[in-house]
């Protein structure tokens, strides 16, 4: 399947997902719009556009194709996930360190020295800016 075809299917599917939710809200009348009125109209339009994209998929303008690199696609979200998991449990400095180390593996040749330098530098930066300067109530390190 072409990328354009995939885009059409994804568009219609998202429209369908929103429509299924919108139908649960009161639709109302034009003079008294319910919470479901506008979302239902929009979801239907999205499904319609998905169909339109499918029908015109050969005429649409070309996609500037980028090859998918698996390393960044896996390691950067993984780093952010670790940050989210650690920031309240272990504190903002361990979370930052985890993020830098994991996202460092997005590079084809990860360097331990670079990660260490970045972790120390960014740890100090986060402490200085967010805690000393902006007085945010973050836990720095929690044991």
């Amino acid at each position: 399947m072409t990328r354009r075809g995939a885009g059409a299917i994804v568009t219609a599917a998202i429209g369908g997902l929103f429509l299924s939710q919108s139908l649960a809200y009161r639709f109302g009348t034009p003079s008294d719009m319910g919470p479901g009125f506008f979302p239902t109209v929009l979801s239907c339009a999205l499904i319609g556009l998905g169909i339109g994209l499918w029908l015109t998929r050969n005429a649409a303008d070309d996609v500037h194709a980028q090859p998918v690199l698996p390393r960044p696609l896996v390691m950067i979200p993984a780093g952010m996930l670790v940050f989210a998991l650690l920031v309240e449990r272990a504190g903002v400095i361990p979370a930052t360190t985890g993020l830098i180390v994991l996202s460092g593996f997005a590079e084809p040749r990860p360097s331990a020295l670079r990660m260490l330098a970045l972790a120390v530098g960014m740890g100090a930066f986060v402490y200085a800016v967010f805690i000393l300067l902006l007085h945010l109530p973050f836990a720095v390190v929690r044991f």
């Binding site: 990328r3 354009r4 885009g7 994804v10 998202i14 929103f18 809200y25 034009p30 003079s31 008294d32 719009m33 319910g34 919470p35 009125f37 506008f38 979302p39 929009l42 979801s43 339009a45 999205l46 998905g50 015109t56 005429a59 649409a60 303008d61 996609v63 500037h64 980028q66 998918v68 690199l69 390393r71 960044p72 696609l73 950067i76 979200p77 780093g79 952010m80 996930l81 940050f83 989210a84 309240e88 903002v92 979370a95 930052t96 993020l99 830098i100 996202s103 460092g104 997005a106 590079e107 084809p108 670079r114 970045l118 960014m122 930066f125 986060v126 967010f130 902006l134 109530p137 973050f138």
Partner: protein, 511 residues
């Protein structure tokens, strides 16, 4: 006289040490991220958005605005030296890079700086004169007029500014739907929250922007080989100085670029993106020898750059006086204001004169700072181009995560940024430009509200939109834009001037 008083007020606000500092930080960071390949102005603004939540409203807004026009300035540097387009400067690549290859990079850089400065200066004057005027007219607007304006804005953005109208419409609608997440103010009904309590307040536009642009751009660019073409030593002071002939050939282009940019910048939802494209196209059409374009014509650098900068300033007119953003960056800025409880609209200037006039004067200060910064330090900026991305993206990610968490101290926001980041990356893979989504996200809830009010007043009769002369005119304009796009798509005339399609980027194109 009133203008003088207002400007005096603005001067008073903009010259406080705190606002000067924020303006300085904004334009410097803007210039920096504009120059560095791999981060667009939208990504930069999104990443720095959380900082503004903790700054006073006026200072934060001055900084965001500085970041924006600073990035437009800086973007020309990487466009000329590395052939890397940013949205606002994509047209500068077309002739700027060939000029650099001919050893005339210094002159191209100098002339773009002059073009930026002149474009901005005229743009600022237009803002100061036109914004209060438009605001006084818009005070008469009611819901039908606003709804019509938003339809025009959406049509303009979808059809004129980005590649495929259907894709852009799809993304705008998705943005509008995402804008509805949370409790419906009229009925108290939670919508699209999927049972997650922290979604009840809705999704913060900052979170959407940080994910779609900041994170998606990092995933897209990390681990890729990057071109390193330029050595800092190649740009010397002497190489910056243009000849009298250069000046003579560039002056009319400069004037045309400024004129076009100032006018186009005011178009809701499309202006700032269209301005440099139209600026370039017009130059090529009026040139005696159009064959030079694409091979290093100075006019092809000066006109789009002047137009981009003029539009970057005049774009604030509809954004602040009508509450309708002229491009996704403005949408993010509107979001930032709304979060602070400030509603941009016709009453904005009257209610927050210090903020508006302070902002206008800060534009002057910021642009002066940019010139002082930009030319003498050009060697430094050029050296920045050689910073490897592997040293750049981990700090960006830290800023993204800590910033997203800091907005509400909610881990859900970090997860949302992550989800939007992956979605944004997926969109790029499928050939969707995520920018229109942000415009929809801001306009969606407003459109629903104005539609509800209009129809409620008219007892459900949709003819209210065509019975009122102003809204009818605006809707006709929207229809014209729509009809033009259909005609363009049906005919697919290869000779017709294409308003979309920036040059092929050498790396993943930043937004």
């Amino acid at each position: 006289m009133e203008l003088v008083n207002n400007l005096a007020l603005g001067l008073h606000v903009a010259l406080t040490p705190q606002n000067l500092l924020y303006c300085f930080i904004g334009v410097t960071l803007g210039n920096l991220v504009g120059t560095i390949p791999g981060l667009g102005s939208l990504a930069a603004i999104s990443i720095l958005l959380p900082v503004t939540y903790f700054a006073p409203s006026t200072s934060g807004f001055i900084m965001l605005a500085g970041l924006y026009y600073g990035a437009v300035y800086g973007g020309a540097t990487s466009a000329i030296l590395l052939n890397i387009p940013h949205t606002a400067t994509s047209m500068v690549c077309l002739d700027g890079y060939p000029l650099a290859q001919k050893g005339r990079a210094g002159i191209a850089l100098f002339m773009t700086t002059i073009a930026s400065l002149c474009g901005s200066a005229v743009g600022i004057v237009v803002v100061a004169l036109l914004a209060p005027l438009l605001a006084s007219i818009a005070l008469e607007f009611e819901s039908p007029e606003y709804f019509a304006l938003m339809v025009l804005g959406l049509a303009g953005a979808a059809i004129l500014a980005y590649g495929s109208p259907m894709r852009s419409f799809g993304l705008m609608i998705l943005g509008m739907l995402l804008g509805m997440v949370g409790i419906d103010v009229n009925s108290g009904q939670p919508r699209f929250t999927f049972g997650v309590t922290s979604l009840m307040d809705g999704i913060n536009i900052g979170i959407v922007a940080i994910g779609l642009f900041g994170v998606a751009e990092v995933i897209l660019n990390a681990g890729r080989a990057r071109p390193r073409l330029m050595r800092a030593g190649e740009i010397t002071w002497r190489s910056l100085i243009p000849t009298a002939a250069d000046f003579k050939s560039a002056l009319p282009s400069l004037a045309r670029g400024i004129g076009l940019g100032s006018v186009l910048g005011i178009l809701p939802s499309a202006g700032t993106i269209l301005a440099p494209i139209v600026g370039y196209t017009v130059e090529k059409q009026v040139a005696r020898d159009p064959g030079r374009f694409g091979h290093g014509a100075l006019e092809g650098v000066v006109a789009p750059e002047a137009a981009a900068n003029a539009a970057a300033q005049t774009g604030f007119v509809p954004t602040l006086t009508l509450g309708i953003p002229t491009d996704p960056v403005m949408a993010v800025m509107l979001g930032a204001l709304m979060i602070k409880g400030i509603a941009p609209g016709p009453a904005f200037i009257g209610e927050h004169p210090d903020m508006f006039w302070g902002l206008v004067v800060s534009f002057v200060i910021g642009n002066a700072l940019l010139v002082i910064w930009h030319l003498p330090l050009i060697g430094l900026w050029v050296r920045l181009l050689t910073i490897p991305f592997e040293l750049l993206y981990p700090p960006v990610l830290v800023f993204v995560c800590v910033g997203a968490y800091a907005i509400r101290q909610s881990v859900t926001d970090v997860y949302l940024v992550l989800i939007f980041g992956v979605i944004g990356y997926g969109m790029r893979l499928l050939g969707f430009q995520p920018a229109p989504l942000l415009v929809g996200f801001i306009l969606g809830p407003l459109m629903e509200e104005h539609l509800r009010r209009s129809l409620s007043v008219a007892r459900g009769n949709p003819l209210i939109f065509v019975e009122k002369p102003i809204s009818c005119t605006i809707l006709c304009l929207a229809l014209l834009v729509f009809a033009w796009s259909i005609r363009r798509n049906v005919r697919r005339d290869p000779a017709a001037p294409r308003v979309t399609g920036p040059p092929e980027p050498t790396v993943a194109e930043p937004l």
